[in-house]
Each structure stands twice: as structure tokens, then as C-alpha cells.
Amino acid sequence: QKIRIGCTSSADCGTAMVAADNGIFEKMGLDVEMTRIALNSNIPPALLSNSLEIGGPTSSVFLQAADGGLDLVAVAGASYMHEASNEGTVAVIRDGVTIEKAADFAGKKVGVPGFGAYIHILFVRYLMENGVDPASVNLVETSFPSMPDVIRTGAVDAVLSGGPIVARILESKTGHLGPKFVSELGGDAPIIFYAATRDWATANPEAVQKFRAAIAEAAALIEADREVAIASVAKFTEQKPELVRATPPSKYKPEITADGLGWWLDLMKKQNLLQGSVDAANLLAP
């Protein structure tokens, strides 16, 4: 039986990419196909319609889906927040605009890559912790690739970004680094993890076990040699390897815990992003 794994174009699912590339899945007897998904929030419905068996949703997408009533469970961990990658997610400020601290964001127009998504939630938390009313900031959705353009044309005052985009904007001399709001917050919660429908996970406990083992092996491989991850990520996302290398490395952990999900649950409840009550412990596959 084939297992289709859906991930977005980022390094977060690096462990699955490496496991697929280096024959680890094969060794475990899993027949795996990797699929690139345009929008992270498309992953839960794709799981539900059996277009995918396993997907890599962000924590926020996963929790919103679960909150909305989709019966999904976390299968294994993928990427986690840690210092190095937190460092990489920053505000980039358009030249000519001064934003140095949280309070400076008030009244500014800021581009975020997705409402209700990872960066957005963290940014709102950052504002709230610093006593700034999130409503005072004019947030607009801006996809990563458009960010250099909206900064250059002056459509926004700042963008919240990470990865190679930051470097591109700095290179073009149209913007400069602003607050590193994620590392100011700290945290080590999961960013992206592997999820499946509860039905599938209960019906295929062996496959889940083998998948976990494969992910753990891939994580160890990456720990030992980052180049393995770079090659696989570049292959999967079709980005140039230099570009991937220039990005702060993701940190992978094969486990996923109720605590990690709980951290996000608290955060999202505070921001009124969840309507019902979700129990983190109930969201883990056995």
C-alpha cells in the first residue's frame, strides 16, 4: 500500500524528504510518494479526502482543523522552534521607516505571510506581550515571494519573513532588519509535524510505527550531516542548494508531545483563534 506524504515547499518536512531520498522508507518496507502542496491549510482536507495519507500541517493549521471538527491525529514530529531558526524569522523594515521595538509597529502596515498561520500567531503574541494592541497594527497578507516587491513599491512598511527572502531584501538595499520577534519570545514548540486522520492511523498501526522509525533515523542522519538535508530539501522544493544552505537550519525532532501542542493551544485561545475546546492529549496517535 502506497503512502502519500504531502508537504509545503519548506525545509520543515526535511526528515521525510531525507528518508524518502535515502531509501530509509524503502528499507522499512514503506512505499512512499512525496507530494508538494501549495498551501499548508490545504493539507487537512487533502488528508480527509484520502488524497494523502500523511501530511505536514503547521501546528496552527492542525489545531484549527481539529477545533473545526476534523478528526486528525499527530503521528510524528517534524520541525521545532529553537534558537537558530527563531533567529531567522524576523521583521524586515522598509528603508525610510523606523521600527525598532514592538511599540513602533502601532499604526504601521505590515505584511504577514498568512492570517492565522505560524508567523502571524507568534507576531500577535509578541505584540500582546509588549503591551501593544494588535488591532493598532494594519496587517495585510503577503506571500513570501511578493515580499521584495511590496517592500520595494512601498506598499507596506514592514514584512514578517524568514529564510532566503530576508537575504534577498537586504541585498536589494530596500529594507533593513527589524525586531527579531520570534527569538525575543523564545519557545521550543513544534512548528510542523506529521499528521494523519484518526481512521487511517488506527487502521494502520504498523505503518505508523515504521514511519516513526524512519523519521527518527532520518533525523539522526541530518544531525550528523546537514548536507544530506540540504540536498533533499533542494530536490523536493526545487530551490537552488545555495539558497537552502543560506537559510538557518531547521531543527528536527521525531517525537511529538501533548505539551508542545498545549503551548500552541494556549496561545491560540488567547488570540480567539479557536472556538471549541480541544484536548491536546487526544490528538496524538497511539
Binding site: I37, A38, L48, P148
Partner: protein, 262 residues
């Protein structure tokens, strides 16, 4: 007016001048202004990338998928739309009865329903057929209805006094009379189908040309993205030329009736 008489394969240099000029301007601007963007690349680079990806089979494979999705949807939605359009024009009572329903469903953007479609159909052609079909259905419905209403009333009277059966009237009077407009509708439908299927692929469905565009964009490869973009334009161009040719070949004079014969 005598377009049919002009030999087809003459190169339209004049028509090529305009796009060529625009491309040249873009190339110069990008090379000279030194701006940073992930959305544009010099046309020369795009051209090279285009050729590369055509040669390595990547674009042709994606094109096949997109066209399958587009035409499947066009047929599945367009044919019922055509038949209903004729029915509505011929039976005003039916038209009136369905008006509110049709007019309220028609403008609902199919994109808004993508999450639902994804859940019902999953990835693949099913979703494309459904959503492209929805768009083409309404478009054919409207255009066909307008075309039938425009048929010379005297001809409809002729069919009445000849006591043509309804199907015979449709087949012998209505269809030939609306044929030229029908072809315009079909061509519009074909480009709409292409646009919609690419949009679906960009947003959700991991296959075809839209998916290639999306991938290229996320991989920060504007040259590849624009190459796909240009290629879609070329595919559409070829499609339209092919349909026009088919129109002339298949229907000859009938398709041109009313397009100023005398």
C-alpha cells in the same frame, strides 16, 4: 470580410512587432534598473528556461494534464450548458422559473468552493472537472441563450409553419443560425477552462501547469515561473488557432453564415 480567401500561413509580422517591442523594453528595463524582485526575470533568461523545460519533457507533461482537466471540464459543463441555454431561450416559462436560482448560483466564485471540492474529490482530475465544469456550464448557458434569442424571428416562424418538431427545429434552424456565435462561445469557454484549471492548480491541485507556476514561485525561480506563464499563453494561442481552423474546416460556409457573405 474576405478573410476566408486570404491564405492562412502568411506570417503576420506586424502583429509580432508589438509583443517583440514590449519584450525588448522589459529586458532593457530589468537589465538596466537593477531591481530586486522575485516576480520578474529578463525575457532572454525566461526564453532559455522555457526551451530547457520543453526539451526535458517537464512542460509537455504538465500541459497534457492541464489540457485534460480543462477540456474534460469544458465538455462536462459546456454541453449541458449549451442544451439548457437553448431550452431556456425556447421555453420562456422555464427560463423565468429558474432565473433566481441560476443567477444566484452563477456568480458564486468556484475558487471559494475549492476547500469543499478538495474534501469531496481530493486531488486529481475530479476536482478540476467539477470546478471548470461549473464555470463553463454557466458561461455556455448565458451565451447560448443570448444567441438563440437573436435568431431572426421570421426563421422561427418558418419552422412553426413547417411544423418542424422541436428537435428538428433546434437541429435545422436554431443550431445553424447560432453556429457562428456558438463557436465564439466555445472558444471563450476553452480559454475560460484553461484559466480556471490553471487557477485550481495554483491554489490546490498538485498537477499541471498551474502547479509548475506555484512551485517555481515558491522556489524563487521567476524565470521558470514566467516561462510557464508564457507557455500557457502560447498554448492558449495555439488552442484558439486550432479551434478557428477546425471551425473553417468542419463547417465552412455554415459557420460563417451571417458573417457578411454578400
Amino acid at each position: 470580410m474576405s478573410a476566408a480567401a486570404v491564405p492562412r500561413l502568411r506570417v503576420n509580422w506586424l502583429g509580432l512587432a508589438l509583443p517583440a517591442g514590449l519584450l525588448l523594453a522589459l529586458e532593457l528595463w530589468l537589465r538596466l534598473s537593477n531591481i530586486t524582485t522575485e516576480s520578474l526575470a529578463p525575457p532572454s533568461e525566461v526564453f532559455v528556461t522555457l526551451l530547457e523545460n520543453l526539451a526535458n519533457g517537464r512542460l509537455p507533461a504538465a500541459t497534457l494534464k492541464t489540457l485534460t482537466g480543462a477540456f474534460g471540464g469544458l465538455l462536462m459543463g459546456g454541453i449541458p450548458g449549451l442544451l439548457l441555454g437553448i431550452a431556456f431561450a425556447l421555453v420562456p416559462a422555464l427560463d423565468r422559473a429558474m432565473e433566481v436560482t441560476i443567477e444566484a448560483l452563477r456568480p458564486i466564485p468556484s475558487v471559494a468552493l475549492l476547500p469543499v471540492a478538495l474534501m469531496v474529490f481530493g486531488f486529481g482530475y475530479g476536482m478540476e472537472f467539477a470546478i471548470v465544469g461549473k464555470s463553463c456550464f454557466f458561461m455556455m448557458l448565458i451565451l447560448t441563450r443570448a444567441a438563440v434569442r437573436g435568431v431572426e424571428p421570421r426563421l422561427r416562424e418558418v419552422s412553426r409553419v413547417l411544423r418542424l418538431s422541436k428537435p428538428a427545429m433546434v437541429w435545422k434552424i436554431i443550431l445553424p443560425a447560432i453556429l457562428p456565435r456558438l463557436f465564439v462561445a466555445f472558444r471563450l469557454g476553452a480559454s475560460l477552462a484553461l484559466v480556471v484549471s490553471v487557477t485550481i492548480e495554483i491554489a490546490v491541485n498538485p498537477q499541471g501547469l498551474g502547479y509548475e507556476i506555484m512551485t517555481a514561485r515558491e522556489a524563487l525561480r521567476p524565470d521558470l515561473m514566467l516561462a510557464c506563464f508564457i507557455w500557457i499563453g502560447l498554448v492558449g494561442l495555439g488552442l484558439n488557432a486550432g479551434l478557428l481552423l477546425a471551425q473553417r474546416k468542419l463547417f465552412g460556409r455554415a459557420a460563417l453564415a451571417g458573417e457578411g457573405v454578400k
